[in-house]
Symmetry: D2
Subunit: 352 residues, 4 copies
């Protein structure tokens, strides 16, 4: 970490900064130039917030040289993490496709969807039972009853299940059922929840917050990793910007940036990042072409009847077509779908 | 709620929309114009998400006419809510000034700060004991020990205490101590927490999320109100934008917009909304001039030694000067500081 | 256009709105429901700003049903526009790749780059001679001398040239040289410039502004089309958001959204939309997979010596590799590179 | 400027950076620490873009120590610039209030408005004659005829006139009439226009772009100042964010930040920054309380009939009330309205 002093900083102010660095058990490297005095703080600085120095008198700029995360960093873990989930892997050659409804609504709905996405080539089943809804008057999910239905769907299809957890008080009941925890965008900085999940050894799909920077996403992953749970995958799901023609803005840059900064698998959620069924396949293909390790997709047998997210849910046949397209892009990338049985079809000419 | 059909929608699609409206127990008003068919859904629509119709075939635009919140709306509650807190009120003629350190760090620090902000004219004491930190390696707060120190400070100064709650598992211990819960920006959509607080009758200061719209802030207030807890005040604390010269962007527009939409008190947090001690007073004055009902300000006896937020914390003397300035603006607005003893001084000429 | 009156609007206010609609030569469709009075304005409303009604007393919401642009809309022009440029087409089966340096710096630099990008498979040559620089002290471009060098490069390679125009006073000199005008992000709403270009019949690459909505981009295209110049292609080049790890945020959603709304070709500029050479290829592949009609890429023979944008410029060999990757994605999409001679190579295994 | 090398940078890469610094006529200060090699570039660095180094191999971070602008910086010009305009000053003790319609529409409209704003206490008259309209089909302004009407209004009221210029081709005709050029948000980075205005000695009101950073606003001011025109005032007019309840987001932080960074006067445009007449006065008061040097306000005698911006225009009586409120805030700030005749009235109790 480098602390650049203001041009009119006094020697006493410089001394105070140096003293504070030493107090923290760090070494000091002082460089007094013509225009600026620069003080280097050397040692284990990744766990020291820059604000510790920004408030000091005479300090102009505090510039971090090393990243504020360590366990998530590719610098200390150059090889890709390859997470084995029941029946497939994420982060290696296989492309994971997690699919299913926004909410578990009924036995027939979830069993029908599970069967359909399985046949279309999905690797895992998603379904919400505790729903974070903007309105207190909206459907809040089936709770444990929904978990039981998901477990039944898993039994029938062999697909592992991915379910959102909203609070650490749901942890015990969730642990009885789920294969992968999903932490939603609104909970990316629910640090109590992150710590609780860090204590388990269950895989986690950690979604980026609506206005979370890439660095903050990695810091939230660090919370889970610091608890000893290394089974973390990251998920870009769109960020909030001024553009209103889509629900969110897919930050496709985040795919190569994350692959560069971290060894953790990175997947994309084009359902939420676009908010419109019509745009999901295009962005799903883009994600795989950009180097993503997988996708999570909302699929509903009858989107018009969905209690939530119907607008952005694919029908099973559209999902099957999307899987086919994504499979071909995967091949170009030297990869393959985690659960495809080799029945891919050529894309239509000039597909939008 | 109005559903505008696409120009090429079929009669069957229109029928399906009408059927769905009736299924929800709403009345239908059909208007078939030359260019568009418009279907009005009439009745208790504030609790129906627009997405229920957006996913239907043939639907072009769904336009809400009534607000999606009801208890928070000024429409159904035209008079300002005036919240009595121990020793003062928020939302009426009095301007509340809540002040104190970001984190409770030690007995001497919190007692000294409490005394200083009391003398400078604060109406309540803030202090964090459970800290939402971006990094798992940063100081996470003193926990219950901090609550005890705050209680001691309250006893010595008579100032009620405002403390952030991060999770519903902290509710029981918090209830033993705090006068006002603070829900932080990162938890504005922690719906489990909001519901839990809604079950209590303790006052709440609900902060706007970093990228939450004003409507979403009101929907989160609605969660608390729906539980029967009507003691809610809202807090603008800056939103995340592209501008990097300040920590956040103070959305000063939010003050008159919220005062127009809701009867709940609205306060502003210029410490977080600017992130720099040098800009806090200017934005505090602006808030009161724009019609805010109060302020929450970070004050630390020695910001250089603060374990968090030192950069944006005022020293007690700067805080006293700010209170003085704010008091004069309050007078112009026909209001008065909640706890001023009438010792305001004239502002310096041409104060920046 | 629909005007929804406030629930407490008076009959006089409704009458005033109706009178104003009739004044504009539009027909009126009145629908008085239980909860709201809705007034439809019927006719040529695409050229009427909604603000004409938003300021009227008693008006609650003004909702446009038809798009505010007409010539750019796919609704009135369902087939893709296929623009012939010298030697290739944009908007049909061919994928255009425009490449070259940010600025023309010297004869050797531009001739060398032109040769290199030609060999790697580019369809056109880009190069700036009038440079929009944030700082008045930065290199502002070679002006007409640069245009002569570009013309020489065209003669030697056969590549048509794409050059940014910053002001209508540059129009005459530019017309002598360029094959395609580029309108930069900062000039997307320089309406005098758009009108001037609309008077010509030279092809235009219109870049989206840093904070322009997709609708505003189409309105700017409408300015050019309204002048009779139909040779317009649109360019997504990243938008400004809170994320700082990349120069801009590539709005990949904009590709399918634009292809849905307009018949005009859509290309992507991953050099500006990422700002880092290391991320350009991943985002270029994503663009083509999402359905883009082409790319514009910064290439420099020695990025370390570039006077501008060196950080985001590819070296010729990296560009050649990118063209190879993009060509394979194009094939999957049922398309082909505009100028490839069929020497594509398989992608490396698991390419990031 | 400091260049921080990557931890694995080679000595050759460090040498290349040093050679480039020396080539630019700057001195080098090398600091080789344990964790990082830092190279300081010393001398006239404000005119050197950081990108000159960011693209070099082995470079990790380039950190500017001095600001990239010089003429606009308070560092080299600590005293406030006080601009004399015809009849008043901006930047000193006087608070300027510029008011008038969005567009000049007719002789009676502009003369009536000029008289009304004069009586209410305005210091200058605004009115657009060349209008930057999103739609090519919208009213584009009266052109020179409008300038003649403004000149007549000036003659009748004594108010100097402030008029937007959109292109350097309008410069000659504008110079015959206007007292203050307005450069609109969409032209803040129209560098040709800025240079052309820099050659004149006419005062300029430079508006911040919709997504321009504060630093970029100052760089655009630097363009004008570099031409020798020192009569520049800056204008915050709202930035584009995700919030949709107002037209833009007023960045009130920008007032104290700009007053800190530059000696130039800073005014605020609450009409555009809120987009709603109902919110203009609250934000106008906030601006003056935050330290702004003036306001620019849209006023129309009959907003319902305005051809543009009716929604955000104040009626003359509402404007007069706003001036009264602002005058009282100014007094608290130790300042006074530029043109008030001392007839201010007390604010209503608890004014929103």
């Amino acid at each position: 970490m480098m602390i650049i002093m203001k041009s009119n900083a006094t020697p006493q102010q410089t001394e105070a900064v140096i003293a504070k660095i030493k107090d923290m058990g760090l070494a000091v490297h002082l460089s007094q130039g013509v225009e600026a005095t620069i003080i280097g703080a050397i040692g284990e600085t990744h766990n020291i917030p820059t604000e510790h120095f920004e408030g000091l008198d005479g300090v102009d700029i505090v510039q971090r040289i090393t990243q504020p995360y360590k366990l998530a960093s590719r610098q200390f873990h150059p090889e890709n993490t390859i997470l084995p989930i029941d029946g497939f892997t994420v982060g290696g050659d296989e492309i994971a496709v997690i699919a299913g409804p926004c909410s578990v609504e009924s036995r027939s709905q979830i069993l029908e969807t599970a069967q359909a996405v399985k046949e279309a080539g999905a690797s895992a089943l998603r379904g919400g039972v505790f729903k974070p809804r903007t309105s207190p008057y909206a459907f809040q999910g089936l709770g444990e009853e929904g978990l039981e239905l998901l477990a039944e769907a898993r039994e029938k299809t062999g697909l592992p299940i991915v379910v959102e957890i909203m609070s650490q008080v749901q942890l015990d009941v969730m642990l009885k059922y789920v294969d992968v925890f999903q932490v939603g965008a609104r909970n990316m900085q629910n640090f109590n929840l992150l710590r609780a999940i860090g204590e388990t050894r269950t895989a986690v799909l950690l979604k980026r917050g609506l206005s979370a920077s890439i660095e903050e996403l990695l810091m939230s992953a660090e919370y889970i990793l610091a608890g000893g749970n290394t089974r973390v995958m990251l998920c870009e799901r769109g960020i909030r910007t001024f553009e209103t023609s889509t629900r969110n803005t897919t930050d496709i840059n985040a795919i190569p940036v994350l692959k560069n900064l971290t060894h953790l698998p990175v997947i994309l959620d084009p359902s939420h990042s676009t908010g419109h069924a019509a745009y999901v396949s295009a962005v799903a293909r883009a994600a795989i072409a950009a180097g993503a390790d997988g996708l999570i997709i909302e699929v509903h047998p009858d989107p018009a009847k969905a209690v939530s997210d119907g607008k952005q849910s694919l029908k099973p046949e559209a999902f099957a077509e999307m899987v086919n397209q994504v499979g071909q892009i995967a091949q170009i990338m030297g990869r393959r779908l985690a659960a495809t049985q080799g029945n891919v079809q050529p894309l239509k000419q000039g597909w939008m």
